[in-house]
Symmetry: C5
Subunit: 316 residues, 5 copies
């Protein structure tokens, strides 16, 4: 478990972890510069006084905040659902591994007892292929090569076939099902217990389908566009509405308002597509290593080292 | 997986993808023209000064935004639930296909082993009928002919019967159940494992029922009417409330407020009925092809080409 | 599937479908008349000037909107959950019907094959009793006579017993379970497959329990009272706060504000009890006919005609 | 089903059902008296003019409403989840009763048929113990004596043991499981069908655990404290902010604002602990009787009379 | 069940239970002092008059409240989901214990009957290991030594192995599965009933995975940063906006606003990581004891004393 230091309230003001500044600095500067220009020109545009007051901005500000709040909510729901799905991958692969270790009858007659039986080569191959499934799922969601990071986890003949498949993870799933079929036909897995594993595999494939859904269907694009336009109009017009009453404080206030709106919009944009490679996206690489670690420990092997967060305590 | 380019913040201001402008341009123009007329007439109507100030609009603006926010939320929930249901169709058809490929005993005695057995004609017919189920479901939800796009997926005698059925997809479901019954009576599918497939089929039919629910029961119509009326009254009266304080900026502010309200209302209206053919509705055609692609790859066949998005990166 | 015409934005302003006007007209008129009186009296009450300004209404307006928004949300959740439960009744009755048609072994030896076997009289009786279950559930939720609309669906000896039962739908459920028991003891339904049907029946009974929960437990009544009182005080005091600044526009603005509040409160009130007979309640009659239609088609019979919406596109 | 009269809009203003007035009258009076004093003193406190305007209250009012709205939401979620759990108890006890009535083989050989077999004494004892489980659960949640209202429902030797148990309802659950074990070892319940009942019992015990969770873990207490303090400061300072502009209307407006805030806070407080005995809490007694009524009718016995609501249409 | 006294409305104003004051006192003092300085300097900063009015704060205040409301919501969801997961641990360990007590056939032939059979040593070891699982889960979530508080609950050879494991609780889960395997191979647990226990164990492991997910994935850190910065800027600038209109009331109002914002932010911060040791975090120690108490009572043993809350009615 990664212990992330929680900054104090002062530290939090200057925290850089997963900062969005690089993405919004240009826009913030533009709005700030415009505000200064408006103050210098006393709110006139080409000699024509722009007669705006704070009242209309009060009207729109709340509406914008409500609509932006909805977008943050919807984006975060996508992010958290994606995280739940990946949490489910850890759960189901672990369950399938435990089931393979305890439900299977012995390949060759052995004295039964309460002590754990030795682990057969085919069971080990099955358990490692579960870690391979997770890695393959990550590869598909991140549009990486289908066999990236899979050597040592999948059986060679399966590994070779992956790059030729359009839906590689389901190919791994089919292989897992065929392995279970073999155990059943060999009489090592009675049908009543085979159902337990089949249902776990069904759920595992369901998690894959859930992630594909999130990856393939974005939030309605038009919604982002409407919000983006409204927020920009708002921040661009705001200096004209404030300059008469607060003068040189206008750039500060406008910058402050813009920072909140732009940063939240930008964060929504990042977590809306949770499988990407941006700083606030899900740490799929770390999760795949965590799953392998968990499964190898179940096999009684030394687990691989976990990924370490970078200097900003972020994982990929 | 379709990689959609994400526009920069400038590009986002001018994005046309799934634009709602054609739907709301007339209304926006009307409000804009009214605002100009109000400014020219200095807020008088038939020589009578309309004594409105910004205060009442501040009262109502927030309320409107909250109620509209609720409608967006409810509409998006319908949209996303519909998407989840279709994601479930992909999951369950895949699971049923994998089960048919691995749970069935051989039609004729064959040497069992870990290698995948050859796929029988009846299994292939079953797997393709799963893709046919998805297509049939789309046809019903979009009120298209019951056999559109189904040739090659369903057995001919089933395909012929479909146009005469009022509930065509459930007819396909019954056919799938009868096929499983035949396997059971032939002794190829032991009862313990038959349950796995029966339960997957139950879930698949449940997804159909869920989509029918969304298609048949709209949001309470009265709610849309109340909101629509309130938003229009608001935008029509707003110029009278602003003209005295901001003069010629009135049309700009009113246009801006109206754009946000009308566009969000219009988007809610589109995604509220997610199975339609409007730009922001669900891409059912693309999903049906995706399901067929997935199932054919499980059969070891070459999957059909996926649908390509149009120049606005939209799919049907 | 009912294709409801979607009115244009102009049509939407004057739509009558499910209108709430009859319910709120009296209250609206009262508030409107009061406003006019306040304007005529220049905001004095019994010669005493009521010194209200718009500021306190701004305070309370947002709070009221938030609380009312919560109520709409909670009412709609009840409505939509009730709809989901009824959607579940369609799903589970269909599943039970399909199971009865495909899981049962033949009553008398018959040649097994992939073709559908002829449907036995006891199976037909079982499937029609499923439609009877739905009708019985509607009768209970709407406090109608326990045997209304049930002739032809339930076995006569069961139908006779219904009016004497306090919990009639569960009596139908018990009958369904006894029928399954008979098949099991006759050896036509092996225990492994009996479980599939038992679990479907469990879920069906769970849907009944869910609807009873919604019908028996309203929203906390006190919540409605608090909101109702606050909204009325607000609308009654509002004219005094506005009359000094907007004069004769007061009745218009107060009417507009009141319309939005009263109409939303009234709509919440209707959909809060979704099993009633008001225009915006659930169309239970139409759903019961839809379930019967679906089940009869599974039996290969001609389904009954669906209910047609009235001139306002509403169903009962 | 209890038909509650729905008051008209006038009746709603004066409804007393579940009134919170007794709880908040003292606080309301205090705030009202303070407001009058402030008006009399023209907003001075110990000769020092309190220079407050409405502006800061506008700032805080919305924030308070949002935070209070969140608390209402969270409290109502607890209330409704508790109601769902109790609805589940009705569902699962009914299902277990139906299963006991239809899944068990005969105790002694009897002619099998479609007619319902006579109900054995042990089955009757089991079904009544289900009603006893619900009563025992209520006793625990309300901290009542463990055997209150249980005579006639539980077997005497079990009833005697209850007061000595810290977790009485789980003792009843264990007894139910042992009874099922006896049927299994007697060969009356085949293992495949025993699973159906075991899973129902698991769910029933899960509902107990869910209620214990709600009863044992309140909303974070600090949250209530923060809100309570903020609401009180707000209402205490408000007269100073309003007195200069609205004079003698101050007590009315402050009373109105305080009523809404205090009443909603008080209601949240009641429904936050839904198993209590306050007027707006869940009617556990009525639900326990409803469960017994339902189970006795399944046994073919005359159900006990349902509890009748009091003159305010409230149940305990 | 712990009966927590509910303070009266006066007591609530001064409640110390779980107080956040120690965490926010410094910040509150800073803001208060700044406000006083601003009043003394009449809103000038280094001789330069800061020309701020209340209007921009009205704009931002609502937006801040909405965004902070979202954060409270998301944090509370994490807290409550974590509580549900731990509630599930109680439920599933109880169910597994009941199953071990009633589903297992006798180790040695014994007369079967309706009376409860004596509990074997291996069953007792299994049931206590379930309590050990819960304790091990707590140790992992709180980064405590893997064997803390486990002596007497786990078999010695398992206990010794725990500190060497990276994923200790899953090691306990594997041991539980192996014990069930032994019962199966001994013929004491028929495969049909073994499934019930396997599925309960799967769910138990799923609860572990859910807690790991919450512990490993915080809310997007950037979100906290944006909110924190905005709230601080807001509270720091607010005195300048208020000083001209409300003079010496500025420190009071600013302190009041800051208290609400800081306290809610601080509370969100605490419950966002619900497995910590802060006053408002989940009482894992108490829950582990509660689970042991419940399981020992099922075994017929005297349960350990429950943890008692401290003088603030808080548990750890």
């Amino acid at each position: 478990m990664i212990v992330r230091p929680r900054p104090s309230w002062v530290g939090l003001l200057f925290a850089r972890r997963g900062s969005l500044m690089p993405r919004i600095a240009g826009q913030l500067f533009l709005v700030f510069a415009l505000s200064c220009a408006v103050v210098v020109a006393h709110g006139t545009l080409f000699k024509w006084k722009v007669t705006l007051t704070a009242a209309p901005f009060s009207l729109m500000g709340v509406a914008l905040a409500i609509f932006l709040g909805f977008r943050i909510n919807a984006s975060y729901d996508r992010y958290w659902e994606a995280r739940k799905l990946w949490g489910g991958v850890l759960i189901e692969t672990r369950n399938l591994a435990r089931q393979a270790l305890t439900l299977l009858g012995p390949a060759s007659p052995a004295p039964a007892g309460t002590s754990a039986p030795a682990i057969g080569a085919d069971v080990r191959e099955f358990v490692l292929a579960l870690a391979g499934f997770a890695a393959s799922m990550r590869n598909q969601l991140r549009a990486q090569p289908a066999d990236a990071g899979l050597s040592g986890l999948l059986a060679p003949e399966l590994l070779q076939r992956l790059p030729g498949l359009r839906h590689a993870p389901q190919g791994v799933g089919l292989w897992l099902g065929q392995r279970m079929q073999a155990w059943r036909t060999q009489g090592r897995l009675p049908p009543e217990l085979a159902r337990v594993m089949e249902e776990s595999l069904d759920r595992l494939m369901g998690l894959l389908g859930g992630c594909e859904r999130i990856a393939n269907t974005p939030l309605p694009f038009t919604y982002s566009v409407i919000l983006h336009r409204s927020a920009y109009c708002y921040c661009m017009l705001l200096p004209f509405g404030l300059v008469d009453s607060i003068g040189w404080m206008t750039p500060l206030v406008v910058g402050f308002v813009s920072y909140t709106f732009f940063a939240l919009e930008s964060l929504s944009d990042e977590i809306e597509e949770p499988f990407g490679m941006q700083p606030n996206d899900l740490a799929l690489d770390a999760m795949v290593v965590g799953i392998e670690s968990s499964l190898r420990e179940l096999l009684g092997e030394t687990p691989p080292p976990l990924l370490q967060p970078d200097d900003q305590f972020l994982l990929r």
